[in-house]
Amino acid sequence: MPDGDGKFRIGIKYCGGCRAHYERAAETARVTEALCPSGRYDFELAQPGIPYDVLLVATGCATACPSLSPYTYGRAVTITAAGGGAAAAEEIRKIAETPAELFG
């Protein structure tokens, strides 16, 4: 369900990192590296009030405590552990390839 410009918009949101068990930024970088070459995806740090197709949430532990309520998004994809970036990229790719009408 891309925007009018055809780009699939992804907002990146980090938890506060009080006891992060892995490098969250390294995992989100894996996602951008996997998806950016296609030219289909736009990534930015998530800001309240801006609509995103996917909110990519990188949390330092499974508690995943950040509140997502200030954000506007279609689906949230969460990374909670090291190595989660690859699976997150695949999940986003699937979401992007799913026809918009399948979303409620």
């Binding site: 949101k13 506060g16 990192g17 009080c18």
Partner: protein, 493 residues
């Protein structure tokens, strides 16, 4: 400027005309002094992380007063979630600095004064809460660091405020004027006081009616006329003055700070007065500040503990002892102790409740249990760290010896550095310098400058152990527990 950067914070300190004394003389350029600067770097970290997307979720909050995004260190807690996030933020900063980052005392004072002034106004018809709300907006909008100043020198502990031979041993009002009050006295052990833009003063203990001039709370800038500070020296502090010192410092970048803050007839304008002889609210203010601050230790010390556990694990690796089962067990024990402290900090936050003013306070019993554990567990954690590190932590030569090119006149014709590196080599693949670095880090935290923050501050900061035991006795609800026992045991009286 709702959120300053670390650099902006440091520059803002330069604009103040703060009077700092150290080693018997006034230190004009205290901001760049090698002994003081690491403590300033710590506070700067509280500013920088608020701008970092990876940490802003904890480091910032939305002000209930203005709706602006503010640094959480200036926030009035609006929910139990805010209380939890406060503890998590403190753990984060402990992990980033391995030091006391000093800004918690202000945050804890804000929340205590906010609710106490509200209740004081309700009873006495005073206007302190409005004064304080205006002050908080000023603090939040300018992203200030504030010294929450509670501890008076106290003189003879067997006597109260008014019975001291020297009345100045507790901060008190010496003159009331139409435009404000004049105060006199001192606050001791003031964490981060020199690095603070202002001081928010509170009474140090409950006050009786006869001593009501000691029931005073107010705020003044750090460069108010009549205010000066004397830097508190720390174990091994002059190592920071050694030319090129690096490895031997253990933690070159960060550190804590305490000072004596003297008020020699300092004027306080009416709009900055938050308690003025309403003696029946002094105890409430003390109890609430202490409660918040005892919660704080369940975050900050845990973050520092994380770094100590990591350092101990590295020391074991560098010594080639990391596979030994007793080493693994000691690391597990350190983790158990550290996470127990975190559990207490989180628990007293989860069980928090709203005050009449609307901000949230912690569960007092659980916060005091938290701090009581903090008076003990960090000592065991550093004991285990010393055990794992080995005696070399305190016996190895200086970094200048390790780096020395001086030829030692023996048959081998090696340099002093060669000899030191040869005999202090540890596990294969580990440089001697890295081994030195981790051992010096542990030395610093166990018995150097950082031991001030991790050990003795854990014992006495936010109140000595007996202060918590008094609160635990008050909050322990023994009567209810006796009834429970009677019911189960079938006792009918």
């Amino acid at each position: 400027m709702p959120l300053m950067t670390g650099e902006q914070y440091i520059e803002s300190l330069r604009k103040l005309d703060v009077k700092v004394y150290m080693f018997g003389k006034e230190e004009k350029n205290w901001i760049d002094h090698p002994i003081i600067r690491p403590s300033i770097n710590c506070v700067a970290m509280t500013y920088d992380l608020a701008h970092d997307p990876e940490y802003e979720d904890l480091m910032t909050a939305t002000s209930n007063l203005t709706g602006h995004r503010v640094n959480r260190f200036t926030h009035l807690h609006q929910s139990t979630d805010d209380l939890i996030r406060k503890v998590k933020m403190q753990r984060l900063l402990g992990r980033k600095t391995a030091s006391c980052f000093q800004r918690c005392v202000g945050m804890d004072a804000f929340n205590a004064v906010y609710s106490t002034t509200y209740e004081c106004d309700q009873k006495h018809g005073t206007h302190y809460h409005e004064n304080f709300k205006n002050y908080m907006i000023y603090v939040q909008d300018n992203d200030l660091t504030i010294d929450g100043a509670m501890t008076d020198p106290k003189g003879d502990r067997g006597k109260g405020q008014g019975a001291q031979a020297d009345p100045d041993l507790f901060v008190h009002i010496v003159e009331r004027r139409p435009d404000g009050i004049v105060v006199r006295g001192a606050k001791a052990h003031q964490t981060g006081s020199i690095n603070s833009h202002e001081h928010l003063v509170m009474p140090t203990q409950a006050v009786g009616e006869a001593d009501k001039q000691y029931a005073v709370s107010f705020a003044v800038p750090s460069d108010a006329p009549g205010l000066f500070m004397v830097y508190g020296r720390q174990s091994c502090d002059t190592r920071k003055l050694e030319p090129g010192a690096d490895v031997d410092l253990g933690n070159k970048q960060f550190g804590g700070q305490e000072a004596l803050v003297v008020f020699d007839n300092v004027f306080v304008p009416n709009e900055r007065i938050f308690l003025c002889e309403e003696w029946d609210f002094a105890g409430m203010l003390v109890e609430r500040f202490a409660g918040y601050h005892r919660q704080s230790y369940g975050g900050c010390k845990v973050g520092v503990g994380d770094v100590i556990i990591g350092a101990a694990a590295l020391a074991a690796e560098y010594n080639g002892a990391d596979k030994a089962s007793h080493i693994k067990d000691k690391l597990i024990e350190m983790t158990h102790l550290n996470e127990t402290l975190f559990s207490c900090g989180i628990a007293c936050s989860c069980e928090g409740c709203p005050t009449a003013a609307g901000n949230y306070q912690i569960d007092l019993l659980l916060a005091n249990v938290c701090k009581q554990n903090v008076t003990r567990f960090p000592y065991e954690i550093v004991r285990l760290a010393e055990d794992i590190a080995g005696g070399l932590m305190v016996t190895m030569p200086s970094e200048r010896d390790f780096k020395s090119d001086l030829k030692v006149p023996t048959a081998s014709e090696l340099t002093l550095g060669d000899w030191c590196n040869k005999f202090f080599k540890g596990a294969e693949g580990v440089t001697t310098e890295n081994r030195m670095r981790i051992l010096r880090f542990l030395e610093n935290i166990c018995l150097g400058t950082s031991a001030v923050g991790y050990r003795t501050e854990s014992m006495h900061g936010a109140g000595s152990p007996q202060a918590q035991r008094i609160m635990i006795a008050r909050q322990g609800d023994f009567e209810t527990k006796k009834k429970l026992a009677k019911t189960i045991a079938g006792i009918k009286e």
